[in-house]
């Protein structure tokens, strides 16, 4: 079980060939109070870097991009019902979706926690 990060401030929890995706605590602090989350449909095949989800604060809408390619296996309906979870627990309860990792080599381009910390420092 490893956690990886993108330069777009998403985290991926890797468990076997499944990645759970969310946005980082740094991202939520930059967005401010989240009032709306839109998630991809289960079964959708995402290509790396395509818009997969939307997170909106009072002030603005932001796209969440697919960090890697793969099929959406499950989405977190809890965060859709209670968008404020993104602010209170971005790295935990506010996960966005789980996807099947289509190509493990894509993980090579992601950061580990130390590199991500340096990226946001």
């Amino acid at each position: 079980m490893t956690t990886l990060f993108t330069t777009d401030h998403e985290w991926l929890l890797i468990e076997g060939d499944v990645a759970t995706v969310g946005i980082t605590d740094y991202a939520q602090s930059q967005l401010g109070d989240v009032v709306f989350v839109e998630l991809p449909k289960v079964g959708r095949s995402l290509k790396k870097a395509e818009a997969a989800a939307v997170v909106e604060s009072v002030k603005a809408a932001s796209d969440v991009y697919a960090p890697i390619s793969g099929e959406v296996l499950e989405v977190n309906e809890e965060v859709v019902a209670e968008p404020a979870l993104v602010n209170s627990d971005a790295a935990g309860k506010a996960w966005f979706f789980k996807m099947k990792i289509a190509d493990k080599s894509e993980l090579g381009g992601l950061m580990d926690e130390a590199a991500y910390k340096a990226h946001t420092a």
Partner: protein
Amino acid sequence: MLATDNTPLKRTPLHALHLSLGAKMVPFAGYDMPVQYPAGVLKEHLHTRQKAGLFDVSHMGQLALRAKSGKVEDAARALERLVPQDIVALAAGRQRYAQLTNEQGCVLDDLMVANFGDHLFVVVNAACKEADEAHLRAHLSSSCQIDSLSDRALLALQGPKAETVLAKFSAEAPAMRFMDAGPRRVADLACFVSRSGYTGEDGFEISVPADRAEQLATALLSDPDVLPIGLGARDSLRLEAGLCLYGHDIDTTTTPVEAALEWSMQKSRRSGGDRAGGYLGAEKILNQLAGGASRRRVGLKPEGRAPVREGAPLFADQVSTEQVGTVTSGGFGPSFNAPVAMGYVPTRLATNGTQLFAEVRGQRLPLRVAATPFVPNTYKR
């Protein structure tokens, strides 16, 4: 790169205070302004509606308009050449919402005009203030002296607790009613106070000498009921209140009639009135007042939870390729606890309850034309 990119941002007299309060600063109308404080937009918005919020609006333009004759009626008569409002009948100590129009009958800016007894006190939008001042000088300088009061800051104290908070600093202010305006002493400083604002809440705007602004702001913030509020919540508050934001909901392509601002145009300046017309673009505006305009600004209530934001095209149904209108302001209304928006639609589709669709990220989201304000205002009339 544009030369203006290198222009350093201007600072209000409260800039250092914003930084010390932990504000997130953004460029706005050429100023480095607080968009939010550590509480965040949502809490700042709700706090203003529940208690009181303090806003720095010092970036706005404050002007004094004095007739060379010394008579305020002459300044009022002069200003009436540039606005469709009745300024002559505006009583001493009273304030009124107005618009500067151009020859096409469109809106150069919206503004507040107060009669201070011997002159007019005018507050205009930050982004327009240089242009407004030039416009006033170009048209009125033969009869009026126009002074930019750039040595004054402007604070807004808004919310249900604003009166009790301000009462601790001013014996005079609590007796004011909605849209009263004039010189008042606050914290023993020579201020100009109006009982108005742009949140839909009861409240005050306080013009204070720039070098005493931080002292006054700090004193007001020392009250536990008062939180500093940034531009983010200022925008969501005015949107819930159904109030126009210049440059978004009104601009030089919209007339006051299209913008549904007829309520701000008094009978005396309409056809058949004592001083009908006589301002820039009057012909178009009077025609629209008589016969209606082809489009109209309306409130829009999205039916789902997704905010519908500025620029979203509007359609009459789910499949039509013909765009019928555009959203000019939209977002989430924290007190309304749902998305809110406003925009322009053809007058035939402007009736409350009319179903429309906004295109957001390739999807047609249903919304309905809705009465504004979305949250009832609480003015002390």
